[in-house]
Point group: C2
Chain length 301, copies 2
Amino acid sequence: MRASDVDYPLLKTAMLELLTAGGKRLRPAVAILASQFYDASQEKVTSLAAAVEMLHTATLVHDDMIDRATTRRGHPTLNSRWSGEATILTGDYMFAVSASLAAETDSVPVVQIFAQALMTICNGELHQLLSDMQWPPSREAYYERIYSKTASLFAAAAEAGATLSAAPPEHIEQLRTWGHYLGMAFQIVDDVLDFTGEMAQMGKPVGSDLRQGIITLPVLCYLETASGARAAEQIRQIVLGKFDGAEAAVADIVSSGAAELALQEATSLSREGQRALDGLPNGQAKTLLQQLSQYVVARRI
Amino acid sequence: MRASDVDYPLLKTAMLELLTAGGKRLRPAVAILASQFYDASQEKVTSLAAAVEMLHTATLVHDDMIDRATTRRGHPTLNSRWSGEATILTGDYMFAVSASLAAETDSVPVVQIFAQALMTICNGELHQLLSDMQWPPSREAYYERIYSKTASLFAAAAEAGATLSAAPPEHIEQLRTWGHYLGMAFQIVDDVLDFTGEMAQMGKPVGSDLRQGIITLPVLCYLETASGARAAEQIRQIVLGKFDGAEAAVADIVSSGAAELALQEATSLSREGQRALDGLPNGQAKTLLQQLSQYVVARRI
């Protein structure tokens, strides 16, 4: 008997709760849509989509523990209910399930794409954790961070989906590029919604990133305005956790129009992604990809 | 640019230290030796061996954190020097590297064997963490635990090595069985050395498992003796952490001859593993496998 065969109700329940707690399922959608231009086995694409969502959820389990988050998608996080030990091991278990699902695609390149994406995600988080704060903050560092955190998995999902179809290499690369820009735009919109969204919808206080010392694009845009430049030192102190004027600063950022500037940037990246699709066969698949690119910048939640 | 390409000195140093801190490298040896009966690509077998050691080390990083261990192989553990956050992420990163190395074997079955092994390991640890203590303790539960913890990866390493060679399916299965028994014997000997080893050599106090509430085969053998049966309630209280007579109990177990009984069990499992090699081609590969089976029970460290 193998221990992995053991019916383990607590783990099953936890994973089921995590996977059905909601979320937009964008990453599996990216994987599936990117596979639709050329012939692909429905079964393998389904395994891939499941692998993508499982990997994403596994990283969230460890992230929430690292951030000591208590809720996610309106549900209590695993770490808020279980011990740290059980949370680490559940995340590890989900990485293993994700690898197994990726292997079910029967494609070594897909497994490799997955492994590389996870390396990128972990590397980016370690970098954020271990490196000193850079001041003034740079757009380049922000873009690197959201690539690691978000766009790398969107790009991987698109590349893997395309790889499972009979797409020629240049089209696989174009679909990866589309996924990359989609992920960048998606994350920027997330960062904008952190300032402009309703607390009830977002499930966290407005400006929660800044309150946690994380500089996102709306803040970078704000710092580039005249009033933002004057408030720079205050922002720096908030990030350092040495000044509790976050409430007023968040209100200033929202009223400065910086969120709209950041949203323009997201829209521009989304368009760049759509341009990457030039040369791919026209048809329903392409239309759906373009609609997805438009959705991520139009969404309000 | 991908963030995974970033030269990240701190992570590199940590991984290098972890991987060069010593250890017997038995698991990669198992993978390599199991591949030697039939033609196998040297390069792929090397990737496999590296993947096995990387996976093992990644699990140790998270284990040491869960156990709050401060030293491993005479070196301070990562969790004793870094934050819990950085330790979790470094372990995750190493899982990803391990998956990438496994994919470099170009074999989907090998990736699948790896993923299943990691699932078994995590599942076993979660089981240990979340389930209530069974009393009286059973050999069956002990064997299940050491299979998950240790033998599953030995079995996987042997199966994967054989899979990379042109071995016929029945020989792959026999090599997996050999690896399974090798791992079981290896872990029992580890558990025996925990009672009989020198503290200086083992790097931890004698009887440390029992002191941590973990029942191993020497304790089970002791409980089956007349004096052990009389001491059963005391042992139960030690395991529950409610009685600090561990020092005397450990001395009783050592002097009872229970360790020798456990060692006989390990020797018998090692022989069972060697019998699984019947029918495999005779020659140097087979001799080395047999020697390895004999080594794991003869070793004193």
